[in-house]
Symmetry: C2
Subunit: 187 residues, 2 copies
């Protein structure tokens, strides 16, 4: 399967694309993830909120058009101490949900603790441990930068490894739908 | 001017349209607002977040297409106690900013306290006082319901009355742009 990983934010939104096993295989077991792309969309707080969101929405569409992921994995937003960031991060997260829904893609949310635990084995791992593990797992020559890019890769890896259970269910549902559609019963 | 008032939310999003003075006049002085439309867009939490956002985005486009407001006034989201609602309210608010930006419309945010103060004269007014004042100001036969509809009217009235200063500035800028464009100097 191809996973679009997102570390949502309006000032910086991390995006990554990973392939795990065959394209369209939503339950690849034991396959090693391969990095296809990674990047960060940036907008400045000097622009109006709506203009920043419009730019991010366009970039999300560009990534979805170009890489055609099978599924989207996003880091879940929590209320933190710095309130303004929480609001704009929630807005950015909403755009990801919207763009995915308009293409019929399922979005999986993973908490920061789940992501750290999946990647390093510990929900309390620090950023350096997470980045080091990502670099090794993906066989990269150097550590992904900035932090938002690394986080976008981490949530995609987390989904590839944790998603097994629900992914198998989704695949079963998808195959059943395809079978019914082929028989002309309707999706 | 025609104001689209929004009380943002994903479960219930209040929308209102008010005319104050002439269409396109961004600084109507002393004009009494007239209600053009009011409604509430509802989505159920049983649906996926992306599907709910897609429905709300489509409804916002429908209102903007149908009523062609000159400006958008929205109640500013704050972090409250109930965290999940704050997140979805911020997402809904983001869609309003996005839809307005894509049409070149300016969005004005007003805090709940500003709205209450503008409508009733007191930032500590309760819902009943706000609703009662809206009903009188707009000359309605009965009080607007539900609360989200009343709140959407309140923020539009707030904008009509408070927006004077910045609205006059915007109008001056808009006229100047139109003058330069007419002279072929470029906007």
């Amino acid at each position: 399967m191809r996973v679009l990983g997102v570390d949502p934010g309006l000032t910086r939104c991390g995006l990554s694309v990973l392939d795990v096993g065959a394209r369209g295989d939503l339950a690849p077991s034991g396959a090693r993830p391969r990095m296809v792309a990674v990047g960060v969309v940036r907008t400045t707080s000097e622009r109006a909120t709506g203009d920043r969101l419009a730019y991010l929405a366009d970039e999300l569409d560009t990534w979805l058009d170009r890489f055609e992921p099978d599924v989207v994995a996003i880091e879940r937003v929590y209320v933190a101490e710095h309130v303004p960031t929480v609001m704009t991060t929630a807005m950015a997260s909403g755009l990801v949900h919207l763009a995915a829904a308009r293409r019929g893609l399922v979005v999986h949310e993973h908490t920061p603790t789940e992501v750290k635990a999946a990647v390093t084995g510990s929900g309390r791992a620090d950023k350096a441990q997470v980045t080091s593990m990502i670099t090794r797992v993906l066989g990269l020559l150097e550590a992904p930068r900035p932090a938002d890019a690394a986080d976008a890769l981490a949530v995609a890896i987390c989904h590839a490894w944790r998603g097994g259970g629900s992914a198998r269910l989704e695949q079963a549902v998808a195959s059943e739908r395809a079978r019914l559609a082929a028989k002309g019963v309707g999706a």
